[in-house]
Symmetry: C2
Subunit: 170 residues, 2 copies
Amino acid sequence: MPEGAHAHVQSGESLLFLTDEQLRKGIEAMFFAYRGFTADPDRILEEYGYGRAHHRALHFIHRSPGTTVNNLLAILGVTKQSLNRVLRTLIVDGLVESRVGKRDKRERHLFLTEAGDALERKLSDAQRARMRAAYRAAGPEAVAGFRQVLEAMMEPELRRHFKRLKDSGS
Amino acid sequence: MPEGAHAHVQSGESLLFLTDEQLRKGIEAMFFAYRGFTADPDRILEEYGYGRAHHRALHFIHRSPGTTVNNLLAILGVTKQSLNRVLRTLIVDGLVESRVGKRDKRERHLFLTEAGDALERKLSDAQRARMRAAYRAAGPEAVAGFRQVLEAMMEPELRRHFKRLKDSGS
DNA sequence: GATCTTATGTCAGCCTTGTTGACTTTCCAA
DNA sequence: TTGGAAAGTCAACAAGGCTGACATAAGATC
């Protein structure tokens, strides 16, 4: 194999040499990296008595202010009972506001309060700082590859949500 | 900025344009991708009445046969009580064997039984299949970048474990 | 208007998997 | 021989998943 593995890529039933070894390294990299990914927010959340579930809710409400419960459910992939427990504490604690829909009064539209926005910012500042450091250490081409592989790894259903969110951004 | 963001990379306090928007996309990509990453094993584990904790134990015992409980503890980052509960069920169910250390009889060395190896293979086949598909879809340069960013994202302590495992491989 | 469906919330109970704290046993090493 | 490390165990607790059942409000349809 003169040109090395990189030579064989395109075709579906490609000759690309992906040994179990290489794949296993990727799997372990995902495992260890995800721990780093959540480590900083986890530390902050602990101070507030919240968990990752609260962080996820804050993140996506911040991301899509006015989103409905049902929409959040689809993105987070949990049951309404699970989400509701988390949402209730955030509402009671004054971090999230739930407004009855104007067009459809069955819907609740979710917004962050000032306090909610402040915590969300604190959490995402920490998470972005690590992501920024990793991006800078790896360089922009690595970042592009990183994003491509992650996107290809998603369940199609979730990839749809991801792209919708992605496109609504900057 | 004529050449685009890619032009600025190297320097530590780089001018590399990493907007909060871009970083947020990376964060969301990690979130959604990790769900895909665990989806296939999760489905299999459910059939057996096991959870992700069992998968992790099986994975790393397969990876380093004869590893001690303490070593596993450091890699998994949980308490011995947590690990022990999982390990006990795997031992009782005949998937893992625990052998008293020869040199140090306090230590227990962990091995997969044939049944344990079979389940581990089933789980990692599923997980590798998705990883392989993602790698092929993204291409080898993307894979290299993927790995670089993940590694940069790890906690230093865990990166050490990762590298040790990595180098012990093929 | 009556009925079907959807969106949401809530109660109760269960499971996995994490935690802390206390305690025991084994056994290496100083 | 004694201190401490490695391992195991018990108890209790919490977060955050889950299911099932049920209530309410309100849009949609017949």
